[in-house]
């Protein structure tokens, strides 16, 4: 058989095999995918992992005869799969269908009968019913348009005693919660997000980051004179870089925080309620060289089942975590090939696809889920809804594809625990370094063992005690006898 034919045959076989196993999944990329991704093991080491997503397509807006994107800065996907692109350089919003065919272009609106437009808008949010909230940065306002592009209201610079007199309102990103409250991330605001009521009136700030002080810099400041100090940079809290909102109205926020928490989940009171039960806290890359520094997270996207992905602008990597804070998979990088970015700015989920927007290249990269990624996603979903049996089955498959994913073993352990197979369960928890789970399974296992072997354990103990007593007694008597003889 010629080499080429053999190769094709093998490819066909692999595809068939992939279809057989994953036939029911929503057309994942064929099995036998690249193995060049990585994950962090429970010991904090970078270990190889199969790719969970693969780049398949590049979209720059001109595919169907439209104008190419120019410095686009935000991207969103509606429930029905329509893709909204905020084309900042062209001051417009482009609405594409799920095949990226342009449907509409919104480059302005009518305000009291007069045409009005956007200027360098940096962020926007599209609600489930298609209403758009645009952070019109250049005009210092947030514009609310309905699904047809008609103006509903405009939120301008708020008047409040909470704000300084010379406050400049520069909205960068905006999200809207299910009860129509508007949250705005504005430039130069260190007090958190600005919260506006559904009527567009400013209410308060929520979720401020804490000030982070570098000890060395603090020392310098203590030593400096007042004049010197006034010329130094002030200690200010880290600004947020991107945010998203989930179905329940919790805000997921990313910031370029070095020492604090770069990812936060904020409730209505602004308290951070992100679960950090994973092997280490969600922060992007865990290992990095000191010259480059840690990840600089620029955008965050929440998916279903509490999964969320963050985009690292420094390395161009996308990190996806589950609701407990375990890192599931990593994909993307900086570079010039398909699946690599120059200046990634936004990430968005569209069903099983992931879209990453690159500002400098003006391109959307579409990533399709691979068999591995889809199994892992499905496992996470099953686990989230409490179907531990199915989750365990899927985690089993995931572990077969990637033995390095320590987290998967805990999922199997949990199902085994429920099936009363305590010894096995403890073993799996051990493999995933899950101490709580291990302890739970082990206690039950210990109890079981004790019950089973109670009779002979107790017999041995009693017999032992009896033997000891007899020996002791005999010695005492012997001692007394010797003593008596001496006497």
């Amino acid at each position: 058989m010629p080499k080429k034919t053999r190769k094709t045959c093998r490819g066909l076989l692999l595809t068939l095999f992939g279809l057989m196993i994953f036939g029911q999944a929503a057309e994942p990329v064929a099995a036998g995918e690249r193995q060049d991704s990585y994950n962090y093991s429970a010991w904090g080491k970078a270990v190889p992992a199969p790719a969970a997503y693969e780049a398949t397509q590049l979209i720059n807006g001109s595919e169907f005869g439209g104008t190419a994107f120019k410095e686009p800065s935000d991207l969103q996907v509606a429930e029905d799969g329509r893709v909204y692109v905020l084309d900042s350089g062209n001051n417009r919003i482009v609405i594409l269908d799920d095949k990226f065919k342009p449907l509409h272009v919104i480059d302005g609106f009518k305000r009291e009968g007069q045409a009005d437009g956007f200027e360098n808008p940096q962020g926007f949010y599209v609600t489930e019913d298609g209403q758009m909230f645009i952070a019109d940065t250049g005009h210092a306002r947030v514009v609310h348009l309905d699904a047809k592009g008609e103006l509903v209201k405009i939120v301008e610079k708020p008047q409040s005693e909470l704000l300084a007199a010379d406050f400049q309102f520069k909205p960068l990103k905006v999200v809207v919660d299910p009860s129509d409250r508007i949250y705005v991330m504005a430039e130069g605001v260190f007090d958190g997000f600005m919260e506006f009521g559904s009527d567009g009136v400013f209410t308060s700030f929520i979720g401020a980051n804490r000030v982070e002080v570098d000890p060395a810099e603090y020392l310098w400041k203590r030593l400096a004179t007042r004049e010197q100090r006034s010329r130094m940079v002030m200690f200010t809290p880290t600004e947020f870089t991107g945010f998203d909102i989930d179905d329940e109205g919790f805000i997921y926020a990313a910031s370029a925080s070095r020492n604090g928490e770069p990812i936060k989940k904020l409730n209505a009171q602004g308290a951070d309620i992100l679960r950090r039960q994973g092997y280490y806290r969600p922060q992007g890359d865990m290992l990095y060289d000191n010259a480059k520094g840690p990840s600089r997270l620029i955008d965050i996207d929440v998916g279903d089942s509490d999964m969320y992905s963050v985009l690292d602008a420094k390395t161009g990597r996308v990190f996806t975590y589950n609701g407990d804070g375990y890192l599931l998979y990593v994909f993307g990088e900086r570079g010039n090939r398909l699946g690599q970015f120059d200046t990634p700015v936004a990430i968005e989920r569209s069903g099983e696809r992931m879209l990453v927007l690159d500002r400098a290249l003006g391109e959307i990269t579409q990533f399709d889920v691979t068999a591995y990624g889809s199994t892992l996603n499905e496992a996470t979903r099953s686990y989230y809804i409490g179907d531990e049996e199915r989750a365990a089955e899927l985690f089993q498959q995931t572990a077969a594809l990637n033995a390095n994913l320590d987290y998967a073993y805990a999922g199997i352990g949990k199902a085994l625990l429920r099936q009363d197979d305590y010894a096995q369960s403890a073993e799996y928890f051990k493999r995933s370094m899950d101490k709580d789970g291990y302890s739970k399974a082990f206690l039950l296992h210990r109890k079981e063992l004790m019950r089973q072997h109670f009779s002979w354990i107790m017999t041995t103990l009693l017999l032992g005690a009896a033997v000891l007593a007899v020996v002791h007694f005999a010695r005492k008597r012997k001692g007394r006898a010797v003593y008596a003889r001496i006497k």
């Binding site: 010991w43 291990y438 302890s439 082990f442 210990r446």
Partner: protein, 211 residues
């Protein structure tokens, strides 16, 4: 022979429960050779316990990555501090009018480590059968062993050098400082040696490749 070997086992156990009497006997009454041998055995046992602990402690209390465990390094982590401590202590106490000889310092230090073996060894195996809540017992007993050993080290030092308690504390503190100095000097020494060897090697290579 039987009597002396029996004594060699009994004496350390006597020391840990009756330190003042035990260390006195160690210095003035027992045969130095027996004491030295016992001390060496204790040190060996401690090294073995440390290795076993790193390898076989229960999952819930074992923080070592089994893939990176090196028994030789574990042994070094036991031996080097003991040797450093004894050397530093001896160097200091000769200047501070201590009465202890090096062999006595070494023996008393080793005898003070007995609680670490006696407590830690059974806990290696016990820790395999405990739950997460019960690990506090494990940590408590480990802390107890450390505190006990420290106390014995103090008494041993005091008896061997015939110091007052205050002076013993001062000596112990200074010994730790001296250990730091020694570690620094060792590092300096090794790094210099490394530089010199690499320099010599470079010259050798230069000659060989040109010639």
């Amino acid at each position: 022979m039987l009597a002396s070997s029996r004594q060699a086992i009994r004496h350390p156990l006597h020391v840990i429960f009756h330190p003042f009497e035990g260390f006195w006997e160690l210095k003035y009454e027992h045969h130095p050779k027996t004491i030295r041998n016992t001390a060496l055995v204790i040190l060996a046992l401690l090294a073995i316990t440390t290795v076993l602990k790193a390898q076989y402690s229960g999952f819930l209390v074992n923080l070592n990555n089994p893939n990176e465990l090196n028994s030789l390094m574990e042994i070094v982590y036991v031996l080097v501090p003991v040797v450093f401590w004894c050397t530093a202590n001896w160097s200091l106490t000769t200047l501070m009018d201590g009465e202890g000889k090096f062999s006595e310092i070494f023996a008393s230090t080793c005898f003070a480590l007995v609680p670490l073996i006696v407590i830690q060894f059974p806990w290696i195996w016990l820790s395999q059968g405990i739950s997460l809540e019960e690990t506090s017992f494990y940590h408590f007993f480990n802390a107890l062993a450390a505190a006990w050993s420290l106390y014995l080290l103090f008494v041993g030092n005091m008896t061997v050098h015939q110091f007052t308690p205050g002076k013993t504390l001062l000596t112990m503190f200074l010994t730790v400082v001296a250990m730091g100095f020694m570690a620094f000097l060792c590092l300096l020494f090794f790094s210099l040696i490394q530089q010199i060897t690499s320099f010599v090697y470079t010259i050798y290579q230069e000659l060989v490749l040109r010639g």
